[in-house]
Amino acid sequence: MSEVRVDKISPRTESYISVDALSHRNLIINGDMSIAQRGTSATGLGNGDNGYHTCDRWRFAESGSPTYEFTQTQSTDVPTGQGFATSLKMDCTTADTSLATNDMCRIQQRFEGQNVQYLKYGTSSAQSTTVSFWVKSNKTGNYNVSLVNVDQSRIIGNIYTINSADTWEKKTITFAGDTVGAFDNDNNNSFQINWGLLGGTDRIGGDSSSWGANTDNKNVAGQTVNLADSTDNEWLITGVQLEANTVASSFNFEPHDINLQKCLRYFQKSYIRGEYPGATTNFGMVSTARIQNTVSNRPTNVFFRPILRATPTMTIYSLVGTSGSVSDVGTSGGTHARDEAVSISGSVSQQGLPYLISVSGLTAGDGFCFHYTADAEL
């Protein structure tokens, strides 16, 4: 018979990750910046350009009336030997050395309330969360990171310091859970994480070291860097993980298809990989049967898989990139002949776009083709 002898059994004292926390532990989607369905570069981002431009799920968020501009790219500049192939890069292209008091710029990710219920906010058991990420900039100094409980308009923030210029550094920050305010249990924006790039004097002076009301002066509290003060400035980030724990586990790399599936809940397009909205291309187009008459409601049979988060904003493009139009291909079968204005109706849903309406200019025997984007972002 086998025998096992031990001298001593001791309790494990270091922090550990529970088995439950290992699956889908990263709240962040596309934390390695590998998915960029909208494009790999967006220029002139500044006043009024809130939204999603390159890497999926990563939102450019500004307020005030700024004069600075950034170019955002999906970059291949990454920390060596960490397994990442891409990063998100913000490159200042128009400088603003004297920010207005209420100017602010952040990069953020937003989360549905139904996906963060397990953080148990609003209870005495509210979970701590830890964010870890790789970051690089030529601008050393203090940068703000914050969590926002959107449903309760509450915020907590912290500071990380870029110590060495032009050097990838890994940062880890733990935030307490919010015991006061619960998240709504729905598909709307309930929770945010923000990385500050700059803030005017009205945005940086508050104390956000513990959960409290989300006042303007806490938006990027403690941020000393103005990333827009020179066109030499750039800031890059990748390997972002936000998890329910007080320690950071190693980055949870996911297969490309799994990562993409998560992104598709928020944004889908007809264009093939590597082709972006507004491009002149036939690849991926929706092609309809030639019409037998000139009725105005045209079946399209576009189905969204997976089902989108909400009824999407639809943008229809002709094959030469004209938004609000389809390509009349006549009887050619797939060659753009001319743009025809188009509209859509209330038939669009989270599931698909059954038909287009008011396709003008088509005559019996014509076919039409188009591209689309379906945007249900938070």
Binding site: N297, A310, T313, T315, G346, I357
Partner: protein
Amino acid sequence: MIDTVEKIYEINDDGTLTNNFSNVYKVVFQNGITSFVPLDEANTDYQAIQEWAAIEGNTITDSGGVE
């Protein structure tokens, strides 16, 4: 940024307008892109339309349907 917003009405197969609002808005953004935004409280572009329309001077175009 939003430039113009217009209510879209359902149309008949012969191309004539109905008086049924389609629950979709045609939005032209200042970058020239035309999109169609559903009346869905969870859609962030619909939320942006509501904020835009609340600003004095901004009006949602309603050409109306027909009986």
